[in-house]
Structure formats: C-alpha cells, structure tokens
C-alpha cells in the first residue's frame, strides 16, 4: 500500500512538472515556483542531516579511540565556523571570512596542488607508448600541453592550430556522443520512474 502511494505521488508530480514546463499560465508558474521552493527546503534539510550524521559518527569514533586528533580537529572546525559566523557575522573583516580565507582555502588549494606532483610522477612511470593507440594518445597529450603553455605559439604556428583541431574535431565528436548518450539515458530513466517501471528508488524490491 505504502509503495503504491509513493508511486502515485511520483507519477502525479512527474506529469504535472512535465506539463507545466510548456505553460506560461500563472497557475503553472506558481506551481513551479512552489515545487522549486520545497525542493530547496528539502535539500537544506539534507545538508543538515549530513552535518548531524558527520557529528554523530565522529563523536562515536572518538569514543572508540580511532584517529582521535584528526576527528577532534574536524569537529572543532565544524563548530567554530557557524559560531564565528553567528558572533562576528560573515562580512568583510569578520572572523568567519578570515578563517575561510586563511585556513580553509589554502588547505584545500594545497591538497588540490598535490595532484600536480602525482601527475608528474605518473607521467614518468605510467605514460608509455606501449601500443599504437597509446602512442597517439601520448602525442595528442603533448600537443595539448604545449599549446596551453606560453611557448606553444612562438615554437611553431601549426602547434596551436593542430591542438585546436584535436579539441574541435575528434575530442568534441567523442564528447558529443557521450552527452547525447547521457541525455537519452536520462530521458528513458525518467520516463521509467514516472510511469512506475523503474522502482529501485523505493527500496529495490519488485
């Protein structure tokens, strides 16, 4: 019974949201706006749920003694940011913005920058021309790398042109095929969910 109610709600919303897309009637626009507001509210609650879950999980793990220093730092950070925002605001010169700019942003940039080191290491150890397709991939990668640096153009006029040709023809053709595939897949999956053929979102049982 419960599953049937959920299926009916899903079908109803699916049909209404599909139909309103093609209407400029104030009622249709009002329904759209209301549904979008609820969507955002639900998402905000999902964020809250994530925070609560993160907090509970870390408290539990600290109790078990696993990674205690790291988890403590996580929880202190989790609590410090909203407290700083409530006390000092979020505008220019606030402690919240200072912590964000001087702690969080540099830390995240640092972690992301580590990728460059792994790429450099992987390029030496893994990027080998073991076969003809691998050699073609390697050649294309080198061309693109050169074209995106400042010496691509001055080195040779055909270098940026060739790199652009790779981007605008073989690469774009492959990407378009993937995008069209994703689009068709999304369309069919949505239709299957709306009409009730696809029911795994209800819990997996038929």
């Amino acid at each position: 019974m419960n599953r049937r109610v959920a299926l009916v709600i899903c079908f109803g919303f699916g049909v209404v949201m599909f139909a309103q897309y093609f209407s400029k009637h104030p009622l249709a626009r009002g329904v759209n706006q209301a549904v979008l507001e609820y969507w955002q509210i639900i998402f905000a609650f999902a964020l809250l749920l994530g925070v609560v879950s993160f907090f509970q999980n870390n408290i539990k793990q600290i109790g078990h003694g696993s990674d205690r220093p790291y988890r403590t730092v996580s929880l202190v950070g989790l609590l410090a940011m909203p407290v700083a925002a409530v006390i000092g605001g979020i505008g220019a010169g606030s402690p919240f913005l200072w912590i964000f700019e001087n702690v969080q942003a540099p830390m995240q940039s640092t972690v992301f920058a580590l990728l460059a080191f792994f790429v450099a290491s992987a390029s030496f150890r893994g990027f080998r021309a073991r076969s003809v397709p691998a050699a073609i991939l390697l050649g294309a990668a080198i061309l693109i790398l050169l074209s995106r640096s400042a010496i691509g153009g001055p080195l040779s006029g055909w270098l940026p042109d060739t790199a652009d040709w790779i981007r605008h023809h073989p690469s774009m053709a492959a990407r378009r095929a993937i995008l069209i595939g994703i689009g068709l897949g999304s369309l069919t999956t949505s239709l299957r969910v709306i009409v009730g053929i696809e029911r795994t979102w209800l819990g997996g049982k038929k």
């Binding site: 979008l36 979020i90 220019a92 080191f117 450099a120 030496f124 080998r128 790398l145 400042a150 010496i151």
Partner: protein, 270 residues
C-alpha cells in the same frame, strides 16, 4: 625502493621549478586566442550599465586558477560600468565570490548596493537556477549580508533573467552545464563563462552549438584576458610556472618512454 627514490626526485624537481618560476617575476607574452577575444568583445559590446549576473560556481581548491579568471572578468565589467549581481551555487564559492567582488569594486570605486550586490549561496543548484527564472527576489529575499532585496538600489527592477544581459558562470566543474540546460534552454538567458583548463573540453560542444555564448579557459585564458584589459594579475604571473611545469611533464614522459624502450630492447636481446 628505486621507484620511491625516483618519485621523490621528481617531486623535488617540480617543487624547485615552481618555486623558482613563481619567484622570478618574469611574465611571458601570451597571444590572445579567438575564444578569449570573443568573451572580451561580448562584455565590451554591452551598453554601459548592463546588468550581469556573476555566479561563483567553484570550490576553494581551484582558487589559484579561478581567482585570476574571476578578477580579470570582474575588473573588465566594473571598468565598463556594468552593474553586477553576485551569487554562488556552491557553498565554498560564496565567501570567495564576495571577496573578489568587493576587491574589484574597491579598485574602481564602486559602491555596494548602488553598483553591485551579492546575493550569496542557494542550495540545490538546479532548483536555484530554475527558481530564479521565475523570480529572483523570491529566490533571494535577502542579500549575503541579510539586507532585504528591495533595499538595494542596484536590484531595482531586476525580477527575472529577462532583466539580466547575461549570466557569467565562473566554474571549476560542470555547474555551467546546468546554467545552459536550465537557464538558457528554459528561460533564454545568455550564458558566458570563465572555467578551469580541465573543464574547457567539456564546454567546447556547448560553445560550438551556440548554447554558450563565450568562454575563457584556464590560467592561459586569464593571462590573455589580462592583456586585453591591460591589467596584469595572477594569470600573467602564473604562466611561466605553468609553462615550465608542462615542459617538465613532457620531459618526464620522454625520459619514461626512453627507459621503457631501452629496457624492452635489452629484454629482446636476451
């Protein structure tokens, strides 16, 4: 053991290279590409005082690449006396966007509330984009600092995308796709973007089809844009390091392949 040692030398080499090139202060010339020029010409061609919606759709991790892109675009827009509305579709982009707008505005003597406003972050990006198409004030009843929407002079008469010349998405991921799929397709707003180099090929099909109006890509794009607006910044500063790193990677690929083929030949001889 040898692998670990070689990896450490590779890491050290990269660190020294980046430190030296960033510290050298040398700025390389970067010929302006057609793509970057298109974006510049678009912003340049808008009538003075046009309304631009700038969306900071990125995280803090890509800041070294995103900051020069954002700075160059904001400087150009403020220099042309366009009115700007800032917002973010990712929580982390919120504070970064606010700061970038504030700094660029200060350089050109722009006043908050009169020349620009910052609406802040809205969760669930698809819902946010669609909702703004119905009503921007209903989606953002208050700005980032909690002031009512109606109290900001710059937002007078701005109700939907119809009142905006273009959406400028500064992104390090696929969020610009949603602007095109929902903002452009549903409400017809023009989308222009400044994206990280890794995302350029993702957006090439949209640019070629006209779904995206113009795009600037990566640190290279930022350096080119800085040349166009004659205002050097992080893009120009980082180009030498980026170029040196690219060459370093190419050399490593060459050395790796050389050692691979030598080892293979040795094996075959046996």
């Amino acid at each position: 053991m040898n692998r670990v040692v070689s990896r450490h030398w590779i890491f050290l080499g990269l660190f020294v290279l980046v430190a030296l090139t960033m510290g050298s202060g040398i700025r390389l010339d970067t010929p302006v590409s057609d793509r970057t020029a298109e974006l510049y010409n678009f912003i340049e061609s808008l009538p003075e005082g046009s309304m631009l919606l700038v969306s900071f759709d990125h995280e803090a991790s890509s800041l070294p690449e995103i900051r020069p892109i954002g700075q160059a675009l904001l400087r150009h827009a403020f220099r042309k006396n366009h009115r700007l509305i800032g917002m973010a579709l990712l929580a982390e982009g919120t504070a970064i966007g606010y700061r970038l707008m504030q700094q660029a505005a200060a350089e050109y003597g722009k006043e908050y509330g009169k020349d620009y406003a910052y609406l802040g972050f809205k969760p669930q990006y698809i819902a946010a984009i669609l909702s703004m198409g119905e009503s921007i004030p209903a989606t953002f009843p208050e700005d980032y600092l909690g002031r009512p929407y109606e109290s900001l002079e710059v937002l007078d008469g701005v109700a939907t995308y119809a009142d905006v010349a273009a959406v400028l998405s500064i992104a390090d991921g696929s969020l610009t796709t949603h602007w095109m799929e929902y903002g452009r397709a549903r409400y017809g707003v023009r989308i222009v973007s400044g994206v990280t180099a890794a995302m350029v090929t993702t957006y090439d099909p949209y640019l070629a089809s006209g779904q995206m109006h113009a795009m600037m890509g990566g640190l290279r794009g930022a350096a080119e844009y800085e040349d166009l607006i004659a205002c050097p910044g992080g893009g120009k500063r980082g180009m030498l390091a980026q170029t040196a790193t690219h060459l370093y990677v190419i050399v490593l690929i060459g050395l790796g392949n050389l050692s691979y083929f030598l080892a293979r030949r040795k094996k075959e001889k046996r």
